[in-house]
Amino acid sequence: MSLLAGRDPTVKLAVVLGISLLLIVIVDPLTPTLFLTIALAVALAGGARPGTIARALVPLTVLGVGFVWSNAVFAATQGPATWTIGPFHASESGLRFGLAIAIRGIAIGMFSLAFVWTTDPTDLVVSLIGHARLPFRIGYPLLAAYRFLPFFTDEYAQVRLARRVRGGLPRGPLGRVREAVGELVTLLSDATRRATRIAIAMDARGFAAARERTYYREARLEWGDALFVLGAVVTTAALLELSSWAGALRTVMG
């Protein structure tokens, strides 16, 4: 658990980005499968419940199946068809490629979720300001905005309700567009008022009054972070070696 939660968010983000970039150039199905196994293990070790992981896998898998299908069928129009299912022709190479990018997508998605699940948003912003040169004038307002996301959904429901009570349901596609515009205007005017008030409240507590500010939370890099990066590099190399040994490894370069 603490293996991930205790790590610096910027370091974690860099590792996830690195692995994702690497996976993008790999086009065989086995290698991303190995990485997906690691991603699942990491998510579990990070404290995600199996149920949560399963729920997250559903949309990723649906997307993946779409990739497999379209690639298999699309590739068959160019190469020789290996199988015929009803009116559809599919090729084995297409299927293999589709499977590769589908699993790659799921693996990248799972790494990203493992990152989100084990990272506190405040820690992330403080760490990005400390280690990735994110200006605090951007980072802190982002945090304040993040706090508002749930309010936005609530407010949207209320605006819809209030408008429906006044005017009945919109009729026709044009009516629906006009209704959506009206809702958006109301929401935006609410959001603007709220943002203004927040800005005043931040000003009132001296935000950005000085060029420098200090931080209550520490964004300190520890030995654990170095070990974490080392571990990630070693694991990645081992997986690539394993895949290559099995004769499966293919990259975009061939």
Binding site: Y146, A162, R197, G206, T214
Partner: protein
């Protein structure tokens, strides 16, 4: 400066980060911040049991966190802008208690911008009253302002402390500084044997009947309203009261037919209009004139002259203005006017006096009483028990989604378990209740109106 709305002045996600935010901006070293955060938490009563995440806190606690975040910066003076206006009675009490602890220490100056002064009377050293033109209309110590210049305050449309009005009714010259003080005054001065006979209003036929109504919001794991039964009548003002989250608004929406009951039935005879807490969310047109006439554009029958309504609601001169550009009070009146244009049988208003000053509240309540006298069923969803004491014929108190009491407001006020509904007696009623505990000769009156009536009846009897 502490602002009115707890939601729009917190900028972080967790309590300690919030308190430290100002200190970070001051550039304080970390070890000092840790000490100051702990100190500010202690001063505002935010113990170790306080949830870490701000979104898990109640409105009152959020407001205390906001207060703590200011105190941590050790200002010499603090401005508080209606710090309890957006809170329910329990939350308001929480914040007033935190403020009281600070004010008693007299370590710094406070400037409180406020309509409702009773809970603060004990601490006020000086009062400044602003007129409509934004200039200083009146200033002085509270006793002078509230006891001697009351007529002027009334002309300015300023809320007066209930306890000050009560003292004047009793012919006292000294300003009671809290409920206990006012209770002493009652015991000393209330004319024993003043008649407190009450005339029960006679209501018309039933307009709305709810039977065992249950509602559960999509995705929730508990019912917001758990089997409520209620009948509303013609010519009756009912008030639905209770703490935040007790299910008041949901019940209102169910009665109005805006939300479908998950179980149970709501029978309505005639049309229902619902006025939301934030009227601007329901505005649909670009001018005040169109807004009032909106019902015709969707083919509804207009029963009352829109221009006459605008005139009546003091909006005639704004007919060409954009509804979003109006003031709080005007927006509220506009939303009520556009609801009344079809002459609904039932009018339901969610928090109609929220954030309104005395003049706006009075105007609105006069209008609503007129509507009631025309036979309209009026329902107020509110936290404001003074409003309930003065205007409601019936009070419906909710706790945890269930109706725990339905009856006359004075009966509700006499219940010993009123706190169960997240309610606290309004100041004048609290003074009567406290005095009565010590002297049974004091009648259990609900507020100033009832006191005035009782005193007038006695005078008539003596004359």
């Amino acid at each position: 400066m502490l602002f009115q709305d707890p939601e729009t002045q917190l900028v972080m996600l967790e309590t300690d980060d919030e308190i430290a935010f100002g200190l970070e901006n001051l550039g304080l070293p970390r070890d000092q911040m840790v000490d100051r955060v702990a100190e500010a938490r202690a001063t505002t009563g935010l113990g170790p049991g306080t949830p870490r995440r701000l979104d898990a806190l109640s409105g009152g606690t959020k407001q205390r966190v906001a207060l703590a975040s200011l105190l941590a910066m050790r200002p010499r003076a603090l401005v508080l802008d209606e710090p309890t206006a957006n809170l329910d009675p329990i939350g308001a009490h929480e914040v007033v208690a935190a403020f009281a602890a600070l004010a008693t220490r007299r370590e710094r100056s406070f400037l409180v911008v406020e309509h409702r002064l009773d809970p603060l009377l004990h601490f006020i050293d000086r009062v400044a009253v602003l007129g409509d033109d934004g200039r200083l209309a009146l200033a002085g110590d509270p006793e002078t302002v509230f006891m001697e210049r009351a007529g002027q305050l009334d002309r300015l449309g300023v809320w007066q402390p209930e306890l000050a009005e009560l003292a004047r009714l009793l012919g006292a010259v000294r300003l009671p500084r809290d409920v206990e003080d006012a209770a002493d005054l009652l015991i000393e001065r209330w004319p024993r044997g003043a008649s407190v006979e009450r005339q029960d209003r006679v209501f018309g036929r039933i307009t709305v009947a709810a039977h065992g109504v249950v509602h559960r919001y999509h995705g929730d794991n508990r019912d917001a309203v758990t089997g409520a039964s209620l009948e509303l009548h013609e010519g009756e003002i009912s008030a639905i009261v209770g703490a935040n989250g007790a299910g008041k608004s949901t019940l209102g929406l169910l009665l109005a037919g805006v939300l479908p009951p998950t179980r149970g039935t709501v029978d309505v005879s005639g049309e229902i209009a619902y006025v939301f807490q934030y009227p601007e969310r329901g505005f649909l047109t670009a001018t005040v004139r169109d807004e009032v006439r909106y019902a015709t554009t969707i083919g509804r029958r207009i029963a009352r002259d829109p221009d006459a309504l605008l005139e009546r609601f003091g909006l005639a001169r704004l007919a060409g203005a954009n509804p979003h550009s109006l003031s709080h009070g005007e927006k509220r009146r506009l939303s009520v006017a556009s609801a009344l244009v079809t002459s609904p049988t039932v009018l339901i208003l969610d928090e109609p006096t929220f954030g309104q000053d005395l003049r706006n509240t009075r105007e609105l309540m006069t209008i609503l009483r007129e509507e009631r006298d025309r036979g309209t069923t009026v329902v107020l969803i509110t936290h404001d028990l003074s409003l309930v004491a003065e205007h409601a014929d019936r009070a419906v108190a909710m706790a945890d989604g269930a109706i725990g009491f339905a009856g006359r407001p004075d009966e509700l006020f006499q219940r010993s378990d009123i706190a169960r509904f997240g309610l606290a007696l309004p100041p004048a009623a609290a003074a009567f209740a406290q005095a009565r505990q010590r002297d049974p000769g004091i009648p259990p009156l609900t507020g100033l109106d009832a006191a005035r009536t009782a005193l007038a009846a006695r005078e008539a009897l003596q004359a």
